[in-house]
């Protein structure tokens, strides 16, 4: 079992999930709370990683983070080195690649909140932020959990983007899925079996968290 790869994978998944929850909440709320061409374009961009081959996303991210583009040059100036083939670069790639898995459950959750609740809060003098914090968020805790679990597990299982953007550097960018690939290439099936089993256990445990919560009944007035 490659514990170094396991630790790096868990760090990557935790960091990606944290960033996605912070960035995904306002984005999902904005998408769910209106219509228009702008929102449709943003929604399509958010969902794009779902339909693109991971290697395509990885390739464009590799180019974007390199010295040939303006954002890449800015990031190199900011960090002192290119983000490609580094843990930070992997984090950026994972955030973009897992974005739909975090945002879409939130959009569905926010969309299921009856407009009457938010209007009732406004009619009682609550600001939009207070309404979001005290009414919308408690009613969509299930979606928040689903969003976090899906973002985490999807990052754990990433392969194409990680390989394109991070290469295969042990201790820096080699995640469990890359390590598994290496082990199979080396015909080390015993190690590959252990690595694959670890990935299965992590994913299964995450899904059990989601389904046991749904099966055990919802919290106070929770909608999803």
């Amino acid at each position: 079992m490659d514990f170094e790869a396991l630790w790096l994978t868990l760090r990557l998944a935790a960091g990606t999930t944290a960033i996605l929850l912070v960035a995904g909440l306002p984005l999902a709320w904005w998408i769910a709370s209106g219509r228009g061409a702008g929102r449709a374009v943003v929604q399509a961009l958010v969902a794009l990683p779902l339909v693109l081959p991971p290697t395509v996303v990885g390739f464009y991210l590799l180019v974007m983070l390199g010295p040939l583009t303006v954002p890449g040059r800015l990031l190199i100036r900011l960090f002192g080195h290119s983000l490609a083939f580094s843990f930070s670069g992997l984090l950026v790639g994972s955030v973009i690649y897992s974005l739909p898995f975090a945002v879409q459950p939130l959009v569905a959750g926010f969309g299921s909140v009856d407009r009457g609740y938010t209007e009732a809060a406004a009619g009682l003098g609550a600001s939009p932020w207070r309404t979001f914090r005290t009414v919308v968020m408690p009613l969509t805790r299930g979606s928040l959990l689903t969003s976090a679990v899906l973002a985490f597990t999807h990052t754990v299982g990433e392969f194409g983007v990680v390989l394109m953007l991070g290469g295969n550097i042990p201790g820096a960018t080699q995640t469990l899925s890359i390590s598994l690939y290496d082990q199979v290439q080396d015909f080390n099936y015993a190690a590959a079996n252990r690595t694959a089993l670890a990935l299965v256990i992590i994913s299964l445990a995450a899904l059990i968290v989601i389904y046991s919560r749904r099966g055990s009944g919802l919290g106070r007035g929770e909608l999803v």
Partner: protein, 242 residues
């Protein structure tokens, strides 16, 4: 105030002269739209909404591009459909629009609306009438604690209540709101309720203000029609005691 809703144009120009004013009109005449526009839940296509006499506050002015956000208007609304927050108890719902230092208002509201025994109950366990009562109580509690002169908007507030409870609540609520100087604009299509509630009535139909004045003058025709219906033999026959 003008609002375009499909082909319907509302043209509602009126002033609130009495502490409790009733907006009276048939279902679908646009009464709820007027309340929603005042509360800031929708934008009229034209017009102006001003609140207050001594120091008037412009809530909305299309020509000047003013549209104050709903939460800053000093207006409290109890909608026709009672939407209690499902993640809060009845007490928490009523306390939602009340400042933290005014807990006594929450207790008084619970008592006045006969909700004390239901205070820790979640909304899904309430009957329709209890939910309606709690929703009105929530708006009333919040309006009473407004520091500046605000406005309480009640949309068919007692539609789901039985007559006895409605009579009980109306009398108490009128005197309580009058003693706290809380102005009210309420909506109804019920002639009896209009007579019970308001000294001032705005008669509204087809998106337009038809007449405004004392209830006896404005709704005299409706009152006569209602009394006539009640005294007709065929109606009496329908309710003949067994």
């Amino acid at each position: 105030m003008r609002h375009r809703q499909g082909a319907l144009v509302f043209d509602a120009t009126f002033e609130l002269a009495e502490p409790w004013t009733v907006l009276f009109g048939p279902s679908g005449s646009g009464k709820t739209t007027v309340l929603r526009a005042i509360a800031g839940l929708m934008r009229p296509a034209a017009g102006q909404i001003v609140l207050g006499c001594d120091t008037p506050r412009v809530l909305f002015d299309r020509a000047k591009g003013i549209c104050m956000p709903a939460h800053r208007r000093g207006v409290r609304l109890a909608a026709q459909v009672a939407t209690l927050f499902p993640n809060m108890t009845v007490r928490e719902n009523i306390a939602y629009g009340v400042p933290g230092d005014a807990t006594e208002v929450v207790e008084e509201t619970l008592q006045r609306f006969h909700l004390d025994r239901l205070s820790e109950v979640m909304p899904w366990k309430l009957s329709g009438g209890e939910r309606q009562r709690a929703a009105v109580a929530r708006a009333v509690a919040s309006a009473i604690t407004l520091k500046d002169s605000g406005l309480l908007l009640l949309d068919e507030p007692f539609a789901g209540l039985d007559l006895r409870l409605r009579d009980d609540l109306l009398g108490d609520l009128r005197s309580w709101l009058a003693s706290t100087h809380t102005p009210v604009l309420s909506v109804t299509h019920d002639v009896g309720e209009a007579f019970q509630l308001g000294a001032e009535v705005i008669k509204f139909d087809d998106g337009r203000v038809l007449r405004q004045g004392p209830v006896e003058a404005v709704l005299a025709e409706e009152r006569e029609r209602l009394l006539d219906q009640l005294s007709r033999k065929d109606v009496q026959g329908e309710f003949k005691p067994l």
